[in-house]
Amino acid sequence: MTDLPASAARSTWNASDWHEALVVEAYAETPTARTIRMRLPEAAALPALVAGQHIDVRLTAPDGYTAVRSYSLASAATGGILEITVEELTDGEVSPYLVRGLDVGDRLEIRGPIGGWFVWLDEEPAPVQLIAGGSGVVPLMAMIRAHEAGTNPSPFRLLYSVRSPEMAYYRAELEELARVSPRFDLDWVYTRRAPSGWPHAPGRLDLTRLAASVQPLGSTALTYVCGATPFVEFVADALVRSGRDPARIRTERYGGAEGG
């Protein structure tokens, strides 16, 4: 690896310590996912977040039993607000509570932010290709928001694969950005059901669609791929086989169905 980003800066804020966060907003993102915004009382001490990082969330049952899961941040913590979007997993232990049990005004414990690799830094000069499957768009959304909030002129392009239109996270915001921003392009892939009038039949992302939807080959683009393992394996493999530099492709994967 020759192009490691600078590591997230050390600070007095210890990423191993648990911090209390107040849930200030929570709303359905899709029929199965919920966006949760929380405020940190100790926001002043929070180190600068880097887009793409994650936090750990800890729940505590009445008898003291605790459960911890990792969630990518969807935003870059402006004003001490952290945002995550949680997909409810079948038979999950933590995600059903976060999606259906948690209320505004409740508190969560969080740890982090964590991660110095699957991140985008504002000083990054290269064009960026983002490729998301389903809930894998969350850390990429943090990058898109950070990019739009700053002045980095490099183009961003997102290829977002979802089962059906209503399963897309952040749809309105993404489509508005694609409409108004000269620095952001958006491509959709619908795997099960497409909107009416959509020019492509629903189906899994294939080599043709992939080639047509990414920054041109030969560009120095930095590519971030995030989704379930089969999706990430397919995309990363296809990009490498089409001649892209593996060192310019970063991946993050969601584990199995029992992760949450």
Partner: protein, 197 residues
């Protein structure tokens, strides 16, 4: 004791023996990696150990397969909080591989095809605690799980068990590897929750 989460009951009421703090059990095998999966054939595969004096020992795939093989069943613990019990591996003990390597080094840097690195104290690789594994559950190790061969150090968080292992370099210095430069602990003992800096 943390904050009380109103209405959260959780799934488990009794501590699970063998489960380190902050971990939960899974039965599938999640994949985590930093980039595309390197594709290395056994024919082109080489594995080497280099001592702090620069002396290198190299094995081809056939030479590696001819070494004494061990079958081990171990629990593995990922820093992302999943643990998997009773995983079955076949491979060569680091004791076998380090036999005959003259070293006073205290540390090892594992290097992978694809560029990944991770640092491990040499003590954690000796004494029947670490292997270079090439089979999982009786089958050749799949590329996404680190095949042809990966490091297996079950006593530490699983990012230390480098996939697509290419070499181990011994050193008197404890230099940080990939995740260790990117927010993760230099040692990584799951029982002490050595997750992050």
């Amino acid at each position: 004791m943390g904050l009380f989460s109103p209405g959260f009951m959780g799934r488990r009421r009794e501590p699970v023996p063998g489960l380190p703090p902050g971990q939960h059990l899974v039965t599938d095998f999640p994949v985590l990696s930093i980039g595309p999966t390197p594709r290395v054939t056994p024919e082109e595969w080489r594995f080497s150990i280099t001592s702090e004096s620069g002396l290198m020992t190299t094995w081809t795939w056939d030479e590696f397969q001819a070494l004494p093989q061990e079958d081990v069943t171990v629990d593995i613990h990922c820093v992302t909080s999943w643990s998997k019990f009773g995983t079955g591996w076949r491979g060569v003990s680091l004791d076998t591989l380090l036999d005959g390597v003259d070293t006073q080094a205290g540390f090892a840097m594992a290097r992978s095809y694809g560029g990944y690195t991770t640092n491990v104290p040499l003590d954690e690789l000796r004494g029947g605690k670490a292997w270079v594994a090439h089979q999982f559950d009786g089958s050749p190790l799949a590329p996404e799980h680190g095949g042809p061969a990966r490091l297996l150090v079950p006593a530490l968080y699983f990012w230390k068990s480098a996939k697509w292992l290419r070499s181990i370099e011994l050193s008197t210095r404890n230099d940080p590897g990939f995740w260790e430069q990117n927010g993760y602990h230099m040692h990584g003992d799951p029982w002490r929750e050595e997750r992050y800096w």
